[in-house]
Amino acid sequence: MAEAEGKSQPGVSPETPMLDELEQGPWPSFVTEIKAAAGSNASARDLLGQLELSYEDRLSHWKHGGLVGVRGYGGGVIGRYSDVGEKFPNVAHFHTMRINHPAAWFYTSDALRVLCDIWERRGSGLTNMHGSTGDVILLGTSTDQLEPTFQELAQAGFDLGGSGSAMRTPSCCVGMARCEWACFDSMKLCYDLTMAYQDELHRPAFPYKFKIKCSACPNDCVASVARSDLSLIGTWKDEIQVDQAAVKQYAENGLNILRDVCGRCPTHCMDWDGETLKIQNRDCVRCMHCINAMPKALRPGNERGAVVMIGAKAPIVQGALLSSVLIPFVAADELFETLQELLKRIWDFWDEYGTNRERIGELIQRVGLNAFLEGIGLDPVPEMLIGPRDNPYIYYQNEKEGEQ
């Protein structure tokens, strides 16, 4: 891959009239990026050529994956082979490496340079910052470079992320690092969970993938409710903290509090008389709207923690799912311990009853929430449902009077 190792061919960048069109316009261009790498890297040059061909043919020229990896791991590398390798030999093998990103994607300039230096020598010099699950994506290298790249990264303090039927790289919002709304330490929890389950992450042993995302407030900046099998969403139990003088300031600055704050409250739990904002906190569902609208005046309460939700996924196989409530509230300082116990039970149940390529959300759909809850030893509570059942086809259990 790298010039220094004599594999690249002295080459001229291919003609790319279609891709060149995508260098026009104000938005930063990915084509310009590929060309930047292509200046000194033969695989980036061939990627450019193959991509131009895809734009002409309107088809992908990548073949179905293949099993490649590093010693002792079952994932972290996505095998990729070109179907036009004879034409573009430098991308004939062009495997992706997923690198577990630092929590909330914080870097120093030096850390970025370390990644750049390794990847310039060992791969295409092209990255995604970042992939959909959160990992740093190192885009394209040959099979012989995988192990040395992995070990150089490890010496620099980086490890591979997840792929296949494994725990995937957990991700989190910026949380307490920069956000006044953080209801739990999303970065620390994400890190602690990642470290606790290194084996589950690197050695696929589940029926299918399992994603965890930590959002420290109900704004859900990492789309936890839509994109993770286990969704942690920050919330609070006590009252919204109100600075009445600051509320008044928002009104004076032109915010229509009655219409745009109270009027958009989903449970109509607040009222504004021009002087005081009154909140009926027992009706509040902690949606964040009023706090988002007046961040200087309102803050989440002090008794903070998270809602634990389960089951989100994209459409494949049986249809898309959003996560649903599993535990309505876990205090922030009890989250890690609670989740470890919960994950053990969930994974045991999934291992026992899940079929091949069945996400936990689909398993719950198939066996029913009651069977799942029984399996993991949780009692049903009304917070788990939009409402109780509306059909009378009830499987009454044969309980004799006096028996539990």
Partner: protein, 361 residues
């Protein structure tokens, strides 16, 4: 660097510790932020209980980044903010400053490098997207090119905060949805429209027949025997082109240059603010894959954005706006044709039937 034989092989070290790359102002005020305000589009100021201030300058990236450009980002961070930077969940770049006086020079440097600044509050932030033809075998379209073409047209919506609320766009190049577009204000989704063409010979060598049959959500793949060996056939009228069979078996290719294309979905959200998180719903069933700039897709997205921007009230996300005006009016205002494809016919279809006499006129 050559591998040092004396160095022990490292595994399972995990990612860098969560606080390893945090700037001193964050380490000092971790968990003690009081409020934030917006200084201008793309520039936020977070104020800690201690009175310390952290300025964030948010800029666009194409997500696909060369080491050359990453090094330029690193140089900017060194020059203006002690080397501290981060990326956001929507592939933006953020510089983390403590010196207010450094904001203007950084903005000037970004402008000189033609890097748009914005993506905050009521703007259209960067588009979350997938690999497309750059690196994926099942892609029905290219993601990076679509994002570039759409954001070129919406650049001003990124650099200004002049939307009724935030608007989130996502692109996924097939139904696998690595980009999880299914809960976006506007989602662009690559679709196939032809059944897989079974390569019977390859199938016997590389695929497991029971797994393949089980992969089909509609039971369209049936077992059969060819030349005395287990094989499969596809009941074509039962196929809805999800591509899951191809995911488990390379002998089921389904890409087709003329028939593949894009669908557009609207009204999803993940935030709990006001209304509950929800899926996006179908707006346009299919648009052609016109490389390199997808004019039909760009035009459709811009139209939806413009109509929403003109008609929505403050704080209404796209889905909440449609809740108020109703779907018939959405189709009327956007000029999008309502077709039989908008009527769901999969698992939860009956839940989408209108079960009240609430009809707008």
């Amino acid at each position: 660097m050559t591998m040092d034989a004396a160095k022990p092989r490292l595994t399972d070290i995990g990612p860098p510790r969560y606080d390893k790359y945090l700037p001193p102002v964050i380490l000092k005020n971790y968990g003690k932020w009081k409020f934030h305000e917006s200084l201008r589009p793309g520039v936020l100021c977070h104020v800690a209980e201690s009175g310390d201030r952290l300025y964030t300058v948010r800029a666009a990236t194409p997500r696909l980044l060369s080491v050359q450009t990453l090094r330029r980002y690193a140089e900017l961070a060194d020059k203006y903010c002690g080397g501290y930077l981060r990326f956001t969940s929507r592939n933006n770049l953020e510089f983390l400053l403590t010196d207010h006086a450094a904001i203007e020079p950084l903005l000037a440097a970004l402008e000189a490098m033609k890097i748009p600044v914005g993506g905050t509050n009521n703007s259209i932030s960067n588009i979350v997207h997938t690999q497309g033809w750059v690196h994926c075998h099942s892609a029905a379209t290219d993601a990076s090119g679509l994002v570039k073409a759409v954001m070129d047209a919406l650049n001003d919506r990124f650099t200004q905060e002049d939307m009724p609320a935030k608007l989130r766009i996502a692109v996924a190049c097939c139904l696998n949805m690595c980009g999880a577009v299914h809960c976006s204000d506007i989602a662009i989704l690559g679709v196939h429209r032809t059944p897989p063409k079974v390569n019977h010979e390859q199938l016997t060598k590389v695929c497991e027949v029971p797994t393949l049959i089980a992969s089909c959500p509609t039971g369209a793949i049936r077992p059969t025997t060819i030349d005395g060996k287990p094989n499969v056939e596809v009941i074509e009228e039962q196929c809805m082109y999800c591509g899951n069979c191809f995911s488990v078996c390379p002998a089921m290719p389904m890409s087709d240059a003329e028939m593949d294309g894009l669908s557009i979905w609207v009204g999803g959200k993940v935030s709990n603010a006001r209304s509950a998180p929800r899926f996006s719903r179908l707006a346009i069933p299919w648009l052609p894959n016109h490389t390199p700039r997808w004019p039909e897709v760009v035009q459709a997205v811009v139209k939806i954005v413009d109509v929403y921007r003109a008609d929505a009230r403050p704080f209404e996300r796209v889905g909440e706006w449609i809740d108020r005006i109703g779907w018939p009016r959405f189709f009327e205002l956007t000029g999008i044709e309502f077709t039989r494809y908008h009527v769901d016919d999969f698992k939860y279809a009956p839940l989408s039937y209108a079960r009240s006499a609430h009809v707008r006129h």
